[in-house]
Symmetry: C2
Subunit: 330 residues, 2 copies
């Protein structure tokens, strides 16, 4: 910038104002400086600017994937979420730092926020992170969490309507006459519990000729596969599986088919997330679409609002049932 100042014969303050399109500089001067900047390939030094402006125009996204977090990094859901957040952030000229702590002891949240590397933080999933968030103090005002709506949360939550998602699945299964449902997932996770509750709500006070069985599994496909194999070898009978994610559902279908069970004739299978592969496997997977793209936008909008100091409330994104061959084909 001092180089540009010399070249154009004005003070660097004028150069700065010109590059920032300030109305304080004369039109011709501005044009001249911008031309020089373009010719010399000048780029404003973000490090100096960040220091002076007390902002880094960067958001962070934290995706805890260590074993205890119950989240599974290879789940395409995360990629869609990253993409949605990245593109939403770009609209505000924010860059995105991605952080994948692989042990619970990593304190990425503190480091990124308090050092000023990120102006705000998006945390995907709340399992095991709640205490951590509480320890952030003031900086917690610049954090938004993606997760199921729970009462206990004293941080800003954005998430899809997990209860409604579960309810839609329950209704669909009821409509196609399936009554003995296996719920595959870990209801200790708030999001999953809500989906389970939604599912159960369909049969509440309803002659009770339906049974829902909880088969616990993390979001790891291999674990779900083993659990389903074990289930098939047991005595329990069932005619539907509702999995807490598409990855689990795909694993479940694999297990069922390897046991000679037909999907959907013998067992209907429903997933959650509507990842790209859901439409591409055979049979196509009936699933819940959380509208991740919209979710990412709301996460970013909410966070930007918080950074600006505006009060924000928790937000639910709409949820939609996508019916494919795994429940009504055959």
């Amino acid at each position: 910038m001092s180089g540009l100042a010399k070249l154009s014969g004005v003070d660097i303050s004028t150069v700065s104002r010109a590059l920032n399109d300030s109305p304080l500089v004369n039109g011709k001067t501005k044009d001249h400086i911008l031309k020089l900047a373009h010719e010399t390939g000048y780029a404003i030094n973000a490090r100096a600017r960040n220091l002076r402006k007390q902002s880094s125009q960067t958001l962070g996204i934290v995706i805890p994937v260590y074993p205890g977090s119950q989240q599974n990094l290879s789940d395409p859901f995360f990629l869609e979420m990253i993409a949605a957040v990245s593109q939403a952030a770009a609209k505000f000229d924010y860059d995105l730092i991605i952080n994948l702590p692989n042990s619970p002891s990593e304190i990425a949240e503190r480091r990124l926020l308090l050092s000023g590397k990120a102006d705000g933080l998006i945390v995907i999933g709340q399992a095991g992170r709640i205490e951590r968030l509480r320890s952030l103090g003031d900086a917690a005002d610049r954090v938004v969490v993606w997760g199921g709506m729970i009462e206990a949360a004293d941080y800003t939550l954005v998430g899809s309507d997990n209860f409604e998602g579960g309810r839609l699945v329950g209704e669909h299964l009821k409509n196609i006459g399936r009554h003995r449902v296996v719920f595959l997932g870990d209801i200790d996770l708030p999001e999953v519990e809500l989906r389970y509750n939604g599912l159960m709500s369909v049969w509440k006070g309803d002659g009770a000729d339906a049974s829902v069985m909880h088969v616990r599994s993390s979001f790891d496909g291999h674990e779900a596969y083993r659990q389903m194999l074990a289930l098939c070898e047991g005595a329990e009978s069932f005619d539907a599986v509702f999995a807490a994610s598409d990855v689990l559902a795909i694993a479940a279908i694999h297990a069922l088919q390897s046991k000679g069970l037909r999907v959907p004739e013998d067992v209907a299978v429903v997933g959650y997330d509507n990842i790209g592969q859901a439409a591409m496997i055979s049979p196509g997977l009936t699933t819940i679409d959380q509208n991740i793209k919209l979710g990412g936008e709301i996460l970013v909008n909410t966070l930007v609002d918080k950074i600006a100091g505006n009060p924000v409330r928790a937000t639910l994104t709409p949820t939609k049932l996508v019916i494919r061959g795994s429940t009504v084909g055959g």
Copy 2:
């Protein structure tokens, strides 16, 4: 930091040295300052430090996903790559900025590098980015590209051995007696062309009782699905499909099965990447494992070397065939 200086009664230069564990400060002084820093929850201001040290301890990863780039953002391959790079970068205390330009005109490379937001850049895939990389001037010394090895590249390339991958697939297909192979992908992409050439090399000068047919498709599963349906409706007959990615392979299986063809009995299918889902669909997908985790580590190691000013050469990561039911089951 000036706060800590006041609290501890020393100059901020001493505080700075203490926090950076410099041997210049007295042990007791250091302990005292560190204790105070811990108690007050002090974190070094990264913005100031970055400016002074002329470094941001941040790498960038650019994944072009606009239509012309031929890459498909929903491909789990990218998530595995992001994870591998992120975790490798963490070992060097680098953070990772992720950038997903969704139009070719976005000049993320220039912006991130020249502004100093990132110390170095990893670019995934070279399609359409070559000229862009050339325009970076000196900053190109801080860029590493993931892609197929091509002669024309005058930038640092890291990639798996795509030719060998294709060759392994060819050999496998030959071993199981498949001679009429459909290659599904777009050989205008360097990586894909190499896989194709590797495949072809198996039958070179070999009585020529084999035929390989190129069916062009981008990395979008839906496009591959349509292409395969069209192919099935045509007159050509074939007994194997080698797809340029697992996503394409899964789409191909879906298309084949919907046309009543059995996999692998009628058509053997091989993918590329060994994404998580490859083991979870029915039948399991035979595929090439590129060892993305290792690839990500090499990318980061190479980039860190380049940033330090060390000369580096292009690197190939090993490639491995993973055989599953889509070729030898049934």
